[in-house]
């Protein structure tokens, strides 16, 4: 094997995992280059605590360049723009066009040749989908550390005003009918409520959860059922219970149409239009593709061949259009290899899912109001690792991908913090198996109830703290990092 060039686009959970394992397994046999527009790694799940003022952004961020330098991984602080999987003209060498984001060098374009490429560019936060949505306009987000910091500043300011006797309304949830990542909005609302209590102003606050889910606890996974207390119970029951106990009201089946200063307009699945006044709103944006394009060797646009209409990259999934009743677990990708270009893979949020997991629904006006499929940290990392394994094996002579990581064959463990305190805090710990329901194997609920469970308690909070430190240790590639599971 000569000196192979592997390029990884994106340094989030999926890209960082893929690059780290590629270098570990290939060593000096390959040059591994990571391209990411931001100089830092962000442990996103802990942004929730930044958003209520409990952590500073520097506690969830660290610079990537020194970590990669220590481990022999090349790092280019740049944004990938155009893939040239066929090369250009007579030159068949594939390459990707990147644009520097280094201060002082912004906009400088270079070509990065590759033998294998992993697209792990994650989502673009599509605040523009809803007028007035986002930190640049009238609502907050916790999707990045700076967004979470801005949310915390507003939150702490309002706490001060409530201490002076003012009443405030907090609205937390999803900012569009097609949002995903409801778990993050759920975590933020319960943490915010906990902090209001901890800061002695709960009686001055009204907290409302506004979501595109059909029922709370759907989480874009068509809900989860668990055995508990002599019943098989849907996640709606536990989620509602958590909210009811904390005095959080909820509005479901909502598509946010627009945000004005202090007012959110939304449509519900029954076609009615509503509005709600707020003093602080944290509404997640829908996720969109990052805008990567593809061009063939003659310079003609071939974006539609490589990417699905959603903009995410086509992989080995079954993309034929089907009704909800016809969705199958086997539609989901297993190797994440692009069907046209065997040296192209997509990992994490960057791959195009074949269809939603939750039932698609529309209002009488035709507005889609249903969650997009989530791709959380654990599957993103497992996919990144499987892709790295396949590429390493292919470079060593395997004719095709050797590893699979189907979301219909893997579970997810998730710990949603519900209050950060070592003695009085709690968290909802959940495992789901498999993530994508498989009604052929598990006809009743699509999931194996022996491995699907959930419970609320302080132990979950300790696990959340442990995960924060373990995953930051792993991401920093410190000793024994590879032994920490995804």
């Amino acid at each position: 094997m000569s000196h192979a060039r592997v390029v990884v686009l994106g340094a989030g959970v999926a890209g960082h995992t893929a690059a780290s394992f590629l270098k570990k397994w290939l060593g000096s046999a390959a040059e591994v280059t990571v391209v990411s527009p931001k100089p830092d790694y962000n442990w996103i799940p802990s942004n929730i605590w930044v958003g209520v003022g409990l952590l500073e952004p520097r506690q969830v961020l660290f610079p990537l360049a020194p970590v990669y330098a220590r481990h022999g991984i090349m790092f280019r602080q740049a944004r990938a723009l155009v893939l040239h999987p066929e090369g250009e003209g007579a030159e068949a060498q594939p390459f990707v066009e990147i644009e520097s984001t280094v201060p002082g060098e912004e906009g400088q374009r270079t070509r990065l040749p590759y033998d294998y490429l992993v697209n792990a560019t994650g989502p673009r936060l599509d605040f523009e989908a809803t007028p007035g949505l986002g930190p640049g306009a009238h609502s907050h987000s916790v999707c990045t550390a700076p967004h979470a910091k801005a949310a915390a500043d507003t939150f702490l300011d309002l706490v001060e005003r409530m201490r002076r006797g003012e009443r405030k309304r907090f609205v937390v949830g999803t900012g569009h009918g097609t949002c995903t990542c409801q778990g993050a909005a759920f975590e933020y609302v319960v943490n915010l409520e906990f902090e209001l209590r901890a800061r002695g102003v709960r009686d001055k606050a009204e907290v409302v959860y506004l979501t595109n889910e059909y029922e709370v606890g759907d989480f874009g996974m068509d809900a989860v059922h668990i055995r508990r207390g002599g019943y098989v119970t849907p996640s709606k029951v536990f989620t509602e219970s958590l909210f009811a106990e904390r005095g959080v009201d909820w509005i479901t089946r909502a598509h946010v149409q627009g945000v004005e200063p202090g007012r959110i307009a939304f449509e519900t699945l029954d076609g009615l239009e509503h509005d709600i006044a707020f003093d602080m709103a944290m509404l997640l944006p829908p996720f969109k593709w990052v805008g990567l394009r593809a061009v063939d060797r003659l310079g003609q646009d071939m974006t539609a061949r490589l990417f699905a209409p959603s903009g995410f990259m086509r992989v080995d999934a079954d993309y034929s259009p089907k009704s909800y009743e016809a969705f199958r677990a086997a539609d989901w990708p297993r190797t994440y290899q692009n069907p046209d270009f065997p040296n192209l893979f997509a990992a994490g949020i960057a791959f195009a899912p074949p269809h939603p997991i939750s039932r698609p629904r529309q209002s009488p006006k035709g507005t889609p109001i249903a969650p997009a499929p989530p791709r959380t940290g654990m599957p993103s990392a497992m996919i990144g690792k499987a892709v790295a394994h396949s590429i390493a094996d292919m470079l060593q002579g395997s004719p095709g991908p050797t590893r699979t990581a189907s979301m219909a064959e893997m579970g997810a463990a998730c710990v949603a913090s519900a209050g950060n305190n070592p003695f009085t805090g709690t968290a909802a710990s959940m495992t789901v198996y498999p993530i994508v329901p498989d009604y052929e194997r598990y006809p009743d609920y699509g999931r194996d109830l022996r491995h699907t469970f959930g419970e609320i308690g302080l132990a979950g909070h300790w696990i959340k703290i442990l995960l924060h430190h373990l995953f930051l240790h792993k991401a920093r590639l410190r000793p024994f990092w590879s032994l920490i599971p995804e």
Binding site: E240, S241, D275, G400, R403, L458, I463
Partner: protein
């Protein structure tokens, strides 16, 4: 944003709150959630369940060719 919209107002009576129809934990359930001894035990149990799930998921991540 026109005036034909329904304006959200905080529910005036508990019976019209969505929470009225939710399941609520009893006092012993809440107590157990932060009881140190019980939670140390749960910490071990939840970790084991998660490790089992991770092992199962990795096992499912099969080798296609050797």
């Amino acid at each position: 944003m026109g005036d034909e919209r329904l304006h959200y107002a905080p529910p005036a009576r508990p019976q019209v709150r969505p929470a009225f129809f939710a399941t609520l934990p009893t006092r012993p359930t809440r107590w157990l959630r932060t009881n140190l001894l019980w939670q140390v035990l749960r910490f071990a149990v939840i970790n084991l369940k998660m490790i089992r799930l991770i092992a199962l998921s990795h096992h499912q991540g099969r080798r296609l060719r050797s």
